[in-house]
Symmetry: C2
DNA sequence: TTTTTAATGTAAAACCTATATACAATATTC
DNA sequence: GAATATTGTATATAGGTTTTACATTAAAAA
C-alpha cells in the first residue's frame, strides 16, 4: 500500500473502469473473478490490473482470484464512493437539463442538490422536481449545503469566472463541459467532458 | 514530419486542444501567438507544444511566433477537419435529444444526418427537424449515406451488439456514452464519454 | 546599418512512468 | 500428493515527457 501522492494518476483513472465491470459481474451474480477474466472483459492485461490494485493492497487469493463483492467494496472505499456526494449543476440548457434528468448520477452516488442558471426565463422553473436557482446567489446556497462538486454546462466565455467563484465557495472538484481550459488552485480537481475533441482526435486516424 | 504510426497518440490528442485555443484567438482577432503564450493559455509548456507540432512540420517563424490563421488551418488539415463529417446518432433518450439539439457539433464540422432508436414511441417523430428512424434498418441507411462516424447513447446492454452491426456497415469511428467497453477491430476508432468515471476519479483525491 | 532581443525547431540527455516479463508463493483441483 | 491456476511483486523494457542546449532566423532597437 502507498501514499496517495505516489500513486500514478493514470492508475487511479483506471479504478472506476474496474469498478464498472465489477458492478456488471455483481449484477450477474458472479462470485469470483481472475485478473485475466477481468482483463478480457476490459480489453486490457491481467498484469496491469494486478499492478494497479497492488498500489492499494492485496485483494485476491492465489489459485482462485478476486471475490467480486470484496473487490467491489474495496474499490468503492479507495475512491471514496461509500457516501453520497452532493453536486451543484450550472447551466440549464439542453445538456444541463439532460443531466438533471439522467438517473445514472444519483444511482452511482452523485446527487444533484442544486441547479443554477443566469437566464431569467428558466430561473424559478421546476425541472425534474428541482427548482432552478439564480446563479447570482450561488455562494450562500453552496455554503449552506456544503457542496464540494460542481458540473458546468455554461458557455465557454463564462466558465472561468464561474469557476473562480466556485473555488471561493468551497468547491473542490469541477467537471466541465465548456470547451475551454479552466485555471484553478492545485487542490481543486478539474476534469473535462469534451466529446468534440474526442471526435476530432479520431478523424486524424480516418481515411 | 513523420508517419502517422510513429506519432505518439497522446500528442495527437493534444492537437484538438491546441485547435480550440487557436479558435479562441482567431475570434479575438489575434494574428500571431508564441508557443509560450499558447502554453500559458493552456496550462502546459512551450516546449511541449513545439515538440508536438514538430511531428507534423514547422509552422512558426523565429522571432515572432505562429500566425494564428495559418496554424489553425494546418491543424485542421492534419486532423482531417477540412470537410464535413457525417454522423449517425443512436439512442433518442434525454442525452441523444440534447445532442441532436446541440449546435456545437455541426459548427465544428460534425453533421448528424441520421438519428435512430428502437422505441416505437419515438420512431417517426421529428426532433430538431430530424426524423427518428428505426434502428432495425440502420444498415441500408448508413450505407446509402456513407456515414463513417457513430455516436451511441444507448443502454450499456445494447452497445456491443449495436457496435458489431455498425462495424459491418462501414462505421470507422464510434463515440460511446454507454458505460461499457466496446470491442471492435483495430481499424475502428473507439472513444468513450464517461462523466461519471471522471467524477469517480476526482473523488479519490477529495477529503 | 548594426546590434540586440525574441522566438522557433531540433537534437540530445535525463528523467519519469507505464507496460511487459518472469517467477516465487500459495490456493485449488484432480 | 501432484498438477494447475492465480496472485503479488521484482525486474526489465519501452515509451513519453521534460530539460537543456543551441543554431537559426526574424523583429526591434540603437
Amino acid at each position: 500500500m502507498m501514499e496517495n501522492s505516489q500513486i500514478p494518476d493514470i492508475a487511479v483513472s483506471r479504478l472506476p473502469v474496474y469498478l464498472q465491470t465489477l458492478n456488471l459481474l455483481l449484477r450477474e451474480g458472479t462470485e469470483v473473478v481472475s485478473s485475466q477474466k477481468l482483463a478480457d472483459l476490459l480489453g486490457t492485461t491481467a498484469t496491469q490490473i494486478r499492478k494497479d490494485l497492488s498500489f492499494f493492497g492485496g485483494f485476491g487469493k492465489q489459485g482462485s482470484g478476486y471475490n467480486v463483492i470484496r473487490l467491489h467494496e474495496a474499490l468503492k472505499d479507495i475512491l471514496h464512493l461509500n457516501k453520497i456526494w452532493k453536486v451543484a449543476l450550472f447551466g440549464m440548457g439542453h445538456l444541463g437539463q439532460a443531466l438533471l434528468r439522467y438517473q445514472g448520477l444519483a444511482r452511482r452516488g452523485f446527487e444533484i442538490v442544486l441547479a443554477f442558471d443566469v437566464n431569467e426565463a428558466v430561473i424559478g422553473k421546476k425541472i425534474n422536481g428541482m427548482t432552478v436557482l439564480n446563479e447570482a446567489h450561488l455562494e450562500q446556497e453552496l455554503k449552506k449545503q456544503n457542496v464540494q462538486i460542481a458540473i458546468l454546462t455554461v458557455p465557454a466565455k463564462d466558465a472561468q469566472r464561474l469557476a473562480d467563484r466556485l473555488v471561493l465557495s468551497g468547491i473542490k472538484a469541477i467537471l466541465s463541459y465548456a470547451p475551454i481550459t479552466i485555471k484553478a488552485p492545485d487542490n481543486v480537481q478539474i476534469s473535462y467532458v469534451e466529446p468534440v475533441l474526442q471526435l476530432q482526435k479520431m478523424t486524424f486516424y480516418l481515411e
